[in-house]
């Protein structure tokens, strides 16, 4: 093949087919229809297959992007799936919801001169085909006697569960709600991520032997301590996320028509309130809705309100469009669908109609001042600029905090903001208990949570003494919580006591020798 150059590849990004805005706001069907085989092959031909592959460094789990795109270009989609599945368990999900413009696609070489290769859309194409064709990665699994409990079935928990199941552990995932998937299920609406995709990914995990236990609130039904001490789990991973919504704390916050985006989305997505009364959960339906915030959650909330029949939906955000944290594609879709944006506008009070309902939102105009600690220019109020924005429903999408249940009910060390404190190996202050995802970092992205789940899984394997040649063993020896290296392997010692026959089994050495040191050097 002749050497590809920017000049020799298709110049324009292959457009993706979408439902027209006027049609799509009438239903919850997916907006982005995805590539077909020809479109995918055409887009794949735009990749230069750079030797240094900068795109891979932009991916939190380092998917081998050039290799999978080469396979798509060769029409070997199953091969492409296998390439992705080595590092990313949920291509159909990540291809849809990752903010690629700030990750892999932001560093694509083609993007320097032209539009970057549509890596996310290609990944989604491969993931969707894998689901419809029933491909799944069925590695040869060597069973071990280890039992691992995973708290939370969101992206972090799912990724951790997959890696540990492949390593032969018996994995049980505990989920507080009645359906698994975490934010993928209750948060991201069907028009962005159809439920069938989540169902398919969970079914794939079940085929790997992962057991899901829903309606199980860890911390209440049993504690993390009990999982380790009484229930026989050799290790525990906590991936409970940051689902505790923040209210603004302005006057009128508790009026009937004021709710968190989490509540709106949970009612609409998880409880199917959009089908009320065929489903029993009702949803408050304002005709003029104001959504505060401009992240992905805010975009989802606004677009859900449009589909529920709101006459007008307004976005109120205290910074400008350039600072909006939502994905570019979602912001664009929201604009197409008719959301009215009020940039540089800060709500100061929710106005009451005298009967406990919302009459409007009192706002003030802002202007951008000096950059703050986050590097973004700090919005400052313009004196005398207050005005009333008429609306009858207010939705707060201004961020979430750590859920307090695990902190309330265990002795795990928390940081100042209530998140779980972990060391570099994702170990918490309790031996054998690991944590990752939003419950450690605060609200972040799906792929970052998956990355954390996978790294924690590697740490857990090392803790259990399961040798894994793949990655992450360069972890520092230092134990921030004063857990000595041999203690990290206490499970192996305990198993040896429990079942002497087993201790002679694995080839990794005598059970009384702490094998952490060998594992650290094994790359």
């Amino acid at each position: 093949m002749a050497k590809r150059t920017i000049r020799s590849i298709p110049q324009d990004r292959t457009p993706v087919r979408e439902q027209p805005a006027a049609e799509r706001i009438g239903s919850f069907d997916e907006v982005n229809l995805g590539y077909d085989a020809d479109e995918a092959a055409r887009e794949a031909q735009r990749c230069l297959f750079c030797a240094d592959a900068p795109c891979m460094s932009g991916c939190p789990v380092s998917v081998d992007i050039p290799e999978f795109i080469r396979k798509v270009s060769d029409k070997d989609v199953q091969g492409a799936y296998e390439t992705i599945a080595r590092t990313n368990l949920l291509p159909a999900v990540c291809g849809r919801v990752c903010p690629q413009e700030s990750q892999c696609e932001s560093v694509c070489t083609v993007g320097g001169a032209l539009e970057p290769v549509a890596i996310g859309r290609l990944e989604r194409y491969v993931g969707d085909l894998a689901i419809s064709e029933g491909w799944s990665q069925r590695p040869y699994v060597v069973p071990t006697p280890y039992r691992v409990g995973i708290v939370g079935s969101g992206p972090a928990g799912m990724a951790c569960a997959a890696d540990l199941a492949k390593a032969g552990c018996q994995v049980t995932v505990f989920e507080a709600l009645h359906l698994a998937g975490g934010v993928l299920r209750y948060g991201i609406p069907d028009f962005r991520l159809p439920n069938e995709v989540i169902d398919a990914e969970i079914a794939a995990l079940e085929r790997l032997g992962v057991e899901f236990r829903t309606n199980t609130v860890v911390g209440r039904l049993f504690t993390v301590e009990q999982m380790v001490d009484e229930m026989g789990f050799d290790a525990v991973f906590i991936g409970t996320g940051a689902g505790y919504p923040t209210m603004l704390g302005i006057p009128g916050d508790s009026l009937g028509g004021v709710l968190s985006a989490n509540e709106l989305l949970t009612r609409a997505n998880l409880m199917k309130a959009r089908d009320f009364p065929m489903h029993d959960t009702p949803i408050p339906l304002g005709t003029r809705v104001a959504v505060v915030g401009a992240g992905n959650t805010a975009m989802d909330a606004m677009r859900v309100c449009l589909r529920l029949g709101a006459e007008s939906v307004q976005c109120v955000y205290r910074r400008s469009r350039a600072e909006a944290p939502a994905r570019a594609e979602e912001l664009h879709h929201a604009e197409q669908e008719g959301v009215e944006f009020h940039w540089l506008t800060n709500p100061v009070a929710v106005l009451d109609d005298g009967e406990g309902n919302v009459r409007g939102l009192r706002c003030q105009r802002m202007e951008l001042g000096e950059p703050d600690e986050s590097g973004r220019r700090r919005p400052v109020p313009v004196p005398g600029s207050e005005f009333a924005l008429p609306c009858d429903q207010v939705v707060f999408a201004i961020g979430t905090n750590a859920n307090p249940i695990i902190g309330q009910t265990s002795k795990l060390v928390l940081n100042r903001r209530g998140y779980l404190q972990v060391d570099d190996a994702f170990a918490t202050s309790m031996v054998g208990v690991f944590a990752g995802g939003d419950i450690v970092t605060g609200a972040a992205t799906v792929i970052e949570a998956m990355g954390a789940g996978r790294k924690a899984a590697a740490s857990i394997k090392r803790h259990l003494g399961i040798r894994d040649t793949s990655l992450w063993y360069d972890d520092p020896e230092g134990a921030r919580f004063g857990i000595a290296a041999h203690e990290r392997n206490f499970v192996r010692l305990r198993l040896a006591e429990r079942e002497p026959a087993y201790s002679a089994g694995p080839a990794s050495g005598a059970p009384t020798v702490p094998s952490t040191s060998t594992a650290v050097t094994a790359r």
Binding site: A176, L177, V217, Y244, S254, S260, N262, T281, G356, N403
Partner: protein
């Protein structure tokens, strides 16, 4: 088990939950996959038998449907819990436990817990009339004194629970704590009755909930100058600090939808009955609902 026409109790087998449950906690129940998640207080639990008891009043679509569907031997679609922070059973020597209407059930485990701690427990139970009285015997076992109040005087004293509470406070000047559970208006009245005496008063709030795990804030309540989530910070709060007006206004926000759901369900039931009837007799015409 039916307690009255509209009140019934469910004894659910869930050994793990029976072990974990403490007084003051609740569960979230789903009857079927299309159902809603409803919070119900744990009225009793039996660790030996592995059961949790819920007392339900059939007031809307879901609870009426439960009354019909949840017969002995059936399964619930889902039950999550125990949720909420367990009640603090303090060291008070003399306590009054007040239960109004359906609130009688959830106050029982608290009364029992205080009794087990060796406190003198005075129970004050309020019902509309003698026919609605339930669990009197259970309370007599754990209470040193029981004051029964009915609106019409058909059992016990005639009057509201606040009358019973005043009586208890007069007779026992050493009351150190009052626990009051029932409709918001009743809990508010109890808190007002104890406020002049400066007696600690704990109420169990019942706002609208969805997930019950601190994820949506639908159950937020104003306590003092703070916003708290009843599902993870409560449901027990200091009755003197709760903003009851705010709670009542938020409880009413789905009234229209609630009526619509009940209506929809009622008509669906009628259609199902008619479909059965169609097999036997010619379909009636012009039938009104």
């Amino acid at each position: 088990m039916d307690i009255s026409d509209v009140t019934f109790s469910l004894e659910v087998l869930h050994p793990q939950m029976a072990r974990a449950a403490r007084a003051g906690q609740f569960v979230i129940v789903m009857t079927h996959p299309e159902g809603e998640r409803v919070p119900l207080t744990i009225a009793d639990f039996d660790r030996d038998r592995g059961t949790v008891t819920l007392v339900v009043q059939a007031v809307g679509k879901t609870t009426r449907e439960m009354q019909q569907l949840c017969q002995v031997g059936t399964d619930l679609h889902g039950m999550a819990g125990p949720l909420g922070v367990p009640s603090t059973i303090g060291s008070a020597r003399t306590v009054v436990c007040v239960g109004g209407g359906l609130g009688v059930a959830p106050v029982y485990p608290q009364a029992r817990a205080f009794h087990e701690r060796g406190a003198t427990v005075i129970g004050v139970l309020g019902f509309r009339n003698a026919d609605l009285v339930f669990w009197e015997d259970k309370f007599r076992e754990v209470c040193d004194e029981l004051i029964l109040c009915t609106d019409d005087g058909s059992a016990g004293i005639q009057g509201l629970v606040t009358d019973g509470l005043r009586l208890a406070l007069e007779q026992h000047p050493d009351v150190a704590e009052v626990v009051a559970i029932g409709p918001p208006v009743m809990m508010q009245a109890c808190a007002e009755a104890t406020r002049p005496h400066g007696i600690k008063t704990v109420v169990s709030l019942n706002p609208i909930m969805v997930d019950g795990t601190g994820m949506c804030g639908g159950c937020r309540v104003r306590v003092g100058d703070q916003v708290r989530f009843a599902c993870v910070d409560g449901p027990d709060f200091d009755g003197h600090a709760v903003d009851f007006a705010d709670l009542r206004s938020r409880l009413g926000r789905y009234r229209g939808e609630e009526a619509q759901a009940l209506d929809h369900w009622y008509h669906a039931c009628r259609r199902a009955e008619n479909a059965v009837a169609d097999d036997l007799i010619p379909a009636p015409t012009g039938q009104g609902a």
